[in-house]
């Protein structure tokens, strides 16, 4: 498993930071005192959950799982 949980966490954290920033930027256009802001916050929360779910669960299948540690040796053998 080449990718560590730490790396995944860092990536997810970056995604959440970007979302937080967007929420902050949205306050310039959406009044914080109206229920409309809840839509924005809700979207952000759902996205954060989605991103975390993707990175930690779904993307596992895209990762390189059973990578042969003796890769180079094995491959190099083929050329004699």
């Amino acid at each position: 498993m080449p990718i560590t949980t730490k790396t995944k966490s860092i990536y997810t954290a970056v995604v959440i930071l970007v979302q937080l920033y967007f929420v902050y930027a949205a306050t310039l256009f959406v009044d914080v005192h109206t229920p409309a802001i809840l839509w924005v916050i809700g979207a952000a929360a759902a996205s954060a959950l989605g991103a975390a779910y993707y990175v930690f669960v779904v993307a596992n299948k895209d990762e390189v799982g059973g990578y042969n540690g003796d890769f180079s040796l094995d491959e190099r053998r083929r050329i004699g």
Binding site: F71, R78, I79, G80
Partner: protein
């Protein structure tokens, strides 16, 4: 399901590059893009020199790093023959595959898409030789199923043992 590959005998290769050109001629590749490359290395100072030639093309790896590195899933591995090919219509020419490949095999074509050895797609496996193998004057390249190639290299070592007193010159497949 079987895996085909190349066997290369560095003791036979004289670095003439006929394999490169045979590949270009058979596959109608552009004259500057080479799917198979011969490199020649000389080390040491005169007159104590060692040198070696290696003819390298795609190894059609069992677990192809290029396939896993492609962001467009343009590279696929044939289940029956194990050959790894690039889908030209999906490729975007980002060259990540070259970055990933341990052998530097994928080549940027003149048309901006990656090209690589197709293991002579048209040639029926096991029936006739690949173009590079067919042309090689010294028959330094042999293609075939990996299991057969391993057997072959063991045989080469065994033949060598029959006359060679120096054990350290024996090269080839070592037991794991």
């Amino acid at each position: 399901m079987s895996q085909y590959g190349f066997y290369f005998d560095k003791e036979k290769c004289v670095g003439c590059r006929a394999c490169e050109v045979a590949c270009q001629v058979w596959n109608d590749a552009v004259q500057t893009v080479k799917w198979r490359n011969v490199s020649n290395v000389i080390r040491g100072t005169y007159p104590e020199l060692t040198g070696v030639n290696a003819s390298l093309a795609c190894m059609h790896c069992a677990e192809s790093p290029c396939k896993k590195a492609c962001p467009r899933t343009a590279i696929s591995k044939n289940e029956d023959t194990g050959r790894v090919t690039v889908d030209q219509s999906r490729c975007v020419g980002c060259m990540l595959c070259l970055w990933a490949c341990p052998f530097g095999a994928p080549q940027m074509g003149v048309k901006g898409r990656m090209e690589k050895c197709t293991f002579c797609e048209e040639r029926p496996d096991g029936k006739i030789k690949r173009a590079c193998e067919e042309i090689c004057p010294q028959q330094a390249i042999v293609s075939g199923r990996i299991e057969d190639l391993i057997l072959r290299s063991r045989q080469v070592v065994a033949e060598r043992l029959s006359y060679d007193k120096q054990a350290e010159v024996i090269l080839g497949h070592e037991e794991k």
